[in-house]
Symmetry: C2
Subunit: 214 residues, 2 copies
């Protein structure tokens, strides 16, 4: 997608990656074969095989392409609202069989291929950073203790949902999302997620919030 309109190579690459997404949504990871992807992309299967050794590398490449796609972080006015919105979006995605097929395939592929594992790591790192904006905002608004690890709070918010979905196989709903967000928030408010030592006065990188209290 970087050089979308370009030489034949770029055109073929884009067509194949698009076809991969489409096949993934339609048939899931299991039904994903190189032949089907090639057929949908209007390309011969050898072309696909020559460029991507396995399906997992194909998924990894497709994920890389979509990583830099903009993802708008919610802005409800409060951290609590924002975190619940983030958690709710996860619930919504996994409630739709078509949409949940993509992350499921990514997780599966990452368990098979180191390259896919790397792509997945990069993808979630980017997403976490984008989502962490709501936390950084909250710290500036004194809603949360200064020095709160923004990404860690995002992790704690999402983790219980993914845990249920991928590990225990338990259902998730709006109540689950709300509970996860509130629990994570409780830890943050208790000062358990501070990056720098919280036991005493330190040379903090930013004491603006504290200073403003005086």
């Amino acid at each position: 997608m970087t050089t979308r309109p370009g030489g034949r190579s770029a055109r073929v690459r884009a067509a194949v990656l698009d076809a991969t997404y489409a096949e993934l949504v339609e048939r899931g990871y299991l039904g994903l074969t190189v032949e089907n992807v090639a057929a949908r992309a209007g390309v011969h299967k050898t072309t696909v095989y020559r460029r991507w050794a396995t399906i997992d590398l194909l998924i990894a490449d497709a994920l890389d392409s979509s990583r830099d796609t903009g993802w708008p972080a919610p802005d409800t006015g409060s951290v609590e609202g924002d975190l619940i919105a983030i958690a709710d979006e996860i619930v919504t995605v996994f409630a739709d069989p078509a949409r949940r097929a993509v992350p499921e395939a990514v997780v599966t592929a990452a368990l098979h291929s180191g390259r896919a594992r790397q792509a997945k790591r990069d993808f979630y790192a980017a997403r976490h950073d984008q989502a962490a904006a709501v936390v950084r905002r909250a710290v500036q608004r004194d809603e949360l203790p200064p020095g709160t690890d923004a990404v860690e709070l995002i992790r704690l918010t999402c983790a219980p949902l993914y845990y249920r979905i991928f590990i225990t196989g338990e259902p998730v709903d709006h109540a689950t999302a709300e509970r996860s967000a509130r629990a994570a928030l409780a830890a943050a408010r208790a000062g358990l997620l501070r990056t720098w030592d919280a036991t005493g006065p330190v040379s903090s990188p930013s004491r603006t919030a504290v200073d403003r209290l005086r």
Copy 2:
């Protein structure tokens, strides 16, 4: 394993399931083929194919067999110590390539087969129930608010670790385990994990802890 010494069928079944575990540890999910399992079990491959249609069903059956194996919940004297011990065990398991192969295979198999998904769900439900004992103890000792959802506290303790391991691909260590346990505990102590309504006096199913305070 239920009727270990029995007819030929039971013997073959046990041999195959044992071989499945051994192959899983040695070669991982990817290297797991029916032929290898059959060879190690001293059985012909058609015998395996006739009983278990796919590898995933084989893994599911092996998981079922190991579900009722006793798992000793830690008892350090405090909930915090117990939860950290539980979290630490997860870190330890996934630090060992051989031991992490099993849960990884289970998660992969569950994404492929409904039968494996069910086996995984049952397994974690049993584990959660066993681990929840430390929480129930803590509630009785008044370390935690009465009505605290024991299993939910266990979920919140484990979730951030599994999230890093399976989803984001970030590393886990003792510090991660400790932080997860403490964060979950903060939510529980804040009364966010109560099963019954916490906003006022209710007809609670069990007010023993409250009664004892008088």
